[in-house]
Symmetry: C2
Subunit: 292 residues, 2 copies
């Protein structure tokens, strides 16, 4: 099987890399903190000390990093030159503009960018249950299909424009965050009227909202355990800012996202930067004088 | 089988009454416009000319009407006296306060109120696929269980407080309307960035949001046929106002509902009072300069 370069062993990247290794893909891995690679190296992966060394000439390299700045720093001239005519599969949640910039950098060396952000929390990544949305050149997407087959339960394609898949990913993160806020406001009204949020949310989770977002976040709202962090408030705020910027650049007013940004700013201002993003519910609850 | 009184043959009430009749319940029906009862009468139902005549002494009477004012007018002293020690099953979407008032009226004559609003559009009512949330006295809920079995695919109970089920129903209508707004804002951002709303919503409808609310309203957003009315903008605005009032009375700030009220006010101000509630999507679309 083809050797895969892998950059970024965070909460999502590490289980993804482990699944590729378990499925027989030889890996060349880079991570800012090398210790995270210990398990993979023990199973035969090669650890390198720069991102460019994970970009094998004419090969396939995956990047899963936390933000636009990190991705733009990794996919620099050295990286793009090293990859040459290969394929860079960019799986981070970044702005469509960043994907366009990186696609242009690769094009100078004959390389191609497949934009492929994922939906799913770390447990879904470990279970190979991610959903992937893609955009980029057809032949490049075809080439990396075996990689997607290992990582995900399905791929949805949005054509060849490099930023299209980012727009879809941002739309989804906005929609899921809006769903948490809606559950929070509904639960706060319920509890102020004698209906426990557990009873209220359980009905909806079993009926008209019986889908992963409402079921999983509904459970998290009921438990109110914000220290079990799948995705931090800092990271989701970054995403909401990307939604705001993408919306603003394209002249699409999104009043709900402005509310969500303010909620997360307030959580972070109150010492909750590293709690789970579902702690968004505390905004509506505390506004109503409730302690969850 | 026990004769059932039935008041209110609107978009939801008529298919519900038809299902009761088809399941063998003799019916005594009242509707403001008597013509709507023609089919039921043809199948053996008795048509009466006041709501009180549908409230049989010691019997069971269902009401399915459009708002608090109509319900309070129907469930007047004559109606409560006529029902006596019977059970009034109130299935309209009204405020918890209205249910408390009506429960007190019945109590004077030894009667009981079962608050039992439903989730489901007219097609779901016809298919006996409603979801019912209930509150009220245990023995009264037990007595009317055979009626719920005919009408619904499931019942969720919220205790004995008369207004509790109304709070849950209002919370649900708020959550579903918030979901439409979220899909609208996401779709507008998508289309302004080259991603058709059909492609964007179809991914979410098949993955992280694969539940009835997102699937059914997602299809409606894609089709953008706002003349096929399951539930009008006027009616949903009434519900959003009830959410606002319930939230305000209980001191629970709900910023999203304020946005939704403004969206519906604007639709109605622009001649769309009688279009379907999913036309909410036009707010975000038109704000972004899109024509759907």
């Amino acid at each position: 099987m083809e050797t895969i370069g892998f950059v970024g062993l965070g909460k999502l990247g590490l289980p993804m890399a482990e699944n590729l290794a378990a499925s027989g893909f030889p890996l060349v891995v880079y991570n800012r903190t090398a210790e995270k690679a210990a398990g993979l190296v023990g199973n035969g992966a090669e650890l390198v000390d720069t991102p460019a060394k994970a970009a094998l000439q004419g090969g396939v390299v995956l990047t899963v990093v936390s933000d636009d700045k990190a991705l733009l720093a990794i996919a620099d001239e050295d990286f793009c030159r090293a990859l040459g005519t290969g394929v860079h599969v960019s799986m981070s949640t970044v702005s469509p503009d960043t994907s366009r910039t990186i696609a242009e950098r690769h094009a100078r060396y004959g390389g191609q960018l497949v934009t492929a952000p994922v939906f799913g929390r770390p447990a879904a990544a470990a279970a190979r249950k991610l959903w992937i949305c893609t955009s980029g050149p057809v032949e490049a997407k075809e080439r990396v299909k075996p990689v997607f087959d290992v990582l995900s339960q399905g791929v949805f394609d949005f054509g060849d424009e490099p930023g299209a898949a980012n727009v879809v990913k941002l739309a989804g993160n906005f929609m899921l965050t809006a769903a948490i806020e809606a559950m929070a406001e509904a639960s706060a009204m319920g509890e102020k009227n004698g209906v426990p949020r557990e009873a209220l949310l359980n009905m909806f989770m079993q009926t008209i909202f019986n889908c992963p977002i409402y079921v999983n976040y509904g459970k998290a709202i009921i438990e109110a355990d914000f220290e079990k962090v799948g995705f931090s408030n800092l990271l989701i705020l970054k995403d909401m800012h990307l939604v705001q910027k993408t919306a603003a650049d394209s002249r699409a007013p999104m009043p709900m996202v402005n509310l969500l940004v303010d909620r997360y700013l307030s959580l972070i201002a109150n010492g909750r930067a590293h709690q789970d993003a579902v702690s968004l519910v505390l905004g509506a609850a505390e506004d109503a004088g409730l302690k969850w």
